[in-house]
Symmetry: C2
Subunit: 505 residues, 2 copies
Amino acid sequence: MLNRVRSAVAHLVSSGGTSSQRSKSPDLPNATSAPPAAQETPKSPRGKPRIEVGGPQKTAEPPVSFSRPTFLQLSPGGLRRADDHIGRAVQSPPDTGRRLPWSTGYAEVINAGKSRHNEDQACCEVVYVESRKSITGVPREPGHNQGFCFYYWGLFDGHAGGGAAEMASRLLHRHIREQLKDLVDILQDPLPPPLCLPCSPRTPGVSKPSQLVSPQSGWSPQKEVTHDSLVVGAIESAFQLMDEQMARERRGHHVEGGCCALVVVYLLGKMYVANAGDSRAIIVRNGEIIPMSREFTPETERQRLQLLGFLKPELLGGEFTHLEFPRRVQPKELGQRMLYRDQNMTGWAYKKIELEDLRLPLVCGEGKKARVMATIGVTRGLGDHNLKVCSSTLPIKPFLSCFPEVRVYDLTQYEHCPDDVLVLGTDGLWDVTNDSEVAATVDRVLSSYEPNDPSRYTALAQALVLGARGIPRDRGWRLPNNKLGSGDDISVFVIPLGGPGSSYS
Amino acid sequence: MLNRVRSAVAHLVSSGGTSSQRSKSPDLPNATSAPPAAQETPKSPRGKPRIEVGGPQKTAEPPVSFSRPTFLQLSPGGLRRADDHIGRAVQSPPDTGRRLPWSTGYAEVINAGKSRHNEDQACCEVVYVESRKSITGVPREPGHNQGFCFYYWGLFDGHAGGGAAEMASRLLHRHIREQLKDLVDILQDPLPPPLCLPCSPRTPGVSKPSQLVSPQSGWSPQKEVTHDSLVVGAIESAFQLMDEQMARERRGHHVEGGCCALVVVYLLGKMYVANAGDSRAIIVRNGEIIPMSREFTPETERQRLQLLGFLKPELLGGEFTHLEFPRRVQPKELGQRMLYRDQNMTGWAYKKIELEDLRLPLVCGEGKKARVMATIGVTRGLGDHNLKVCSSTLPIKPFLSCFPEVRVYDLTQYEHCPDDVLVLGTDGLWDVTNDSEVAATVDRVLSSYEPNDPSRYTALAQALVLGARGIPRDRGWRLPNNKLGSGDDISVFVIPLGGPGSSYS
């Protein structure tokens, strides 16, 4: 995200951040993928190791390694081109070899110079989940449910360094897998989920959820809990555990900065779209736009932030006020009446200016310039555990939430055609493009390819990235309408909704 | 609201609550309407005094006075019929004499016995707002803006006594008028509102907002503040001041209980629909349904309530847990794993049951049985300052919000026909009727009257109330489909959207 963290970038660069992470998480036993090693040559598109090279050394600072998604299969030379702020070449997986699952399209481009490297990261995986019980070695009953696969796509938009985005792109789906292990049998059982499990997750014994405490039994009224809501809960818990892991390991592994996370899990017929940050997902279906996420910014989360500042004034450190004013209050205005909003209000009213109102507002600015504590422009995501108010020791993390909003889309409720897609983009795309323009590009590009041409989704992703980047003209990158193109990192997934059972898989 | 406050009713009845209020508010100078006096004869439909008589004395308790909206023009005999739980006669303003503004339709019916009196109240007024500055006696400039009128409709659904609803129906529009006095000139000036006013509201001097600190000046970026958002802020502030007045005066004037408030302000071409509670407003326009409110209940506000309990655990008094479980945890389940949700989650996950989880959940139950602290089923409204958890001294008020959500509807953006209406109803209506059924009734009833017959909106309100009440049959009030009708108080306004400039006014 361009300028998402004002001041913090310089602050953190000077403290030596932005290196990528390689540790294997101690929280994630039985990891199927080995941690990447520097300078390793590319493997298969969906293998785990990432190519990493020293970044261009423009200053006397020590070299900083960086990486791009493995599925791009970049050679060291390709990686250097992907890291070139001048050319800003659009990167996609090669048209040869194995495709991404579902023939997913992907394209990315680096920023125009706002940070040394591309701080976006991406991940696309097929993940097998084995029931935790079978791991214990207990013999299966006949007909006992097997594990299942989920399909996974993730976009991670880093700020104040690429470390958090890199770590999340490598580990978040493994946290999700861990959370789903307990649910393998439950999700495949048509009966309602058991409300209570008799013992710890690793203890063998009960093999069928329907034999556990039945949701129909019990002495008090009880709520209906759907299978979907268990998957949502698993994804929410995984985000939290990922954030906690970053907190634990940030010192040892230099995970500076933070990242927005937008991930999609396809499981048992449904897409779960989880968003924490200001990336965006939309479905374009038969020309219709279905929003699958909303953005979390100081403006959209103003009332949550103000409530927290009001209830926990110690978090404001005597430097900030939880009240919002339409502009900064000046000392000479003491005693006058200015418009304000508190945590309960959506409208504005006048209040007499008092001494406390001269403090900096907790939330200020509008649109892309909105900030929490004059520092960060996004209010949900992973990481940022070290983020402080500029020239202060006041931590900002208490105001940030690592929890995503998860929306569920049932793929079986509609017969999708090859032109129906789910588009994921970091804010580099959406800063200069709106939903309707994206839908128009979907129509224009896909209609120019045969419906069964699997390269059409990559072409669409490239068209979306190019359309947001623009072309270099006098004074910067320009769109056809001569407006400024996006100078931010731009990353786009295009997921055809034909699904794993379609001809694309 | 039927059963909205479990236990609390008995608790408060035994402490002598439920009487109506008659004091003139010290906060509302220059009130245009005198406080009502008991046993006064009816005045004009829009006059202020209310008829009040002693209620039927079914027990040895002291007589409790009650009142119905003045515009019903009820005689003492009519008032007794309106108070009859057996007959449940539908009440409307008489078809003779002066109509309600805009030919508004209104109907109500008392509950089937859940409380001694009808705890709903209603208000419909035309309120003139004079600029505060002119009150100071400063001579007006030529062309200086005059005051303005707003039209006002309010439904107040009381619980645990009728006092709060009665007080709100008598005073809330006066609080709104007070808040609007500062805005008389500003709202009629096409320039953007001034962000800062130089002095106190009662100090004369500056006469045109455009001469004040201009929104285009200033040294820092500033937000756009619309005229609409000032009206929204005025309504929000008025709700807060009304609630504070109830808190101050509750002892002296026996304002026990609380109430939901749904009010509509029509001002300068726009309808402002403000809702705090579980009443509902919808517009039916050319057959289309436009929701104009949402309900605030323990279910819809679960995460706000849990966050508050998490951040301020002292409010839970060691008796409650902020976590939600699908049913009450049993002591024998200690150490087992149960589904739960915290303040960050919308999905469910399993957690190991610990001792603290055996406490009562802050939020429990589903649908109409959902409760905060096992007591109250609505989370926004006015009053409830004395409400305690049953058999405890733990106050519930900190979890309740007096702030409404305000939605704005611009009447000038659409040419309305005589069949386009705004329907307001207390939950007695919506518990047994949905939006589509209401829209069908709107169509059926209005099409059976001439478009220019002003009695059609009252007929529609009566049809809606009758349709929700049902008819007395074996074992209670029954709807045509033999389902139970609403046993709650039911109150309905039908506001034609022709507006004050139409032939209806």
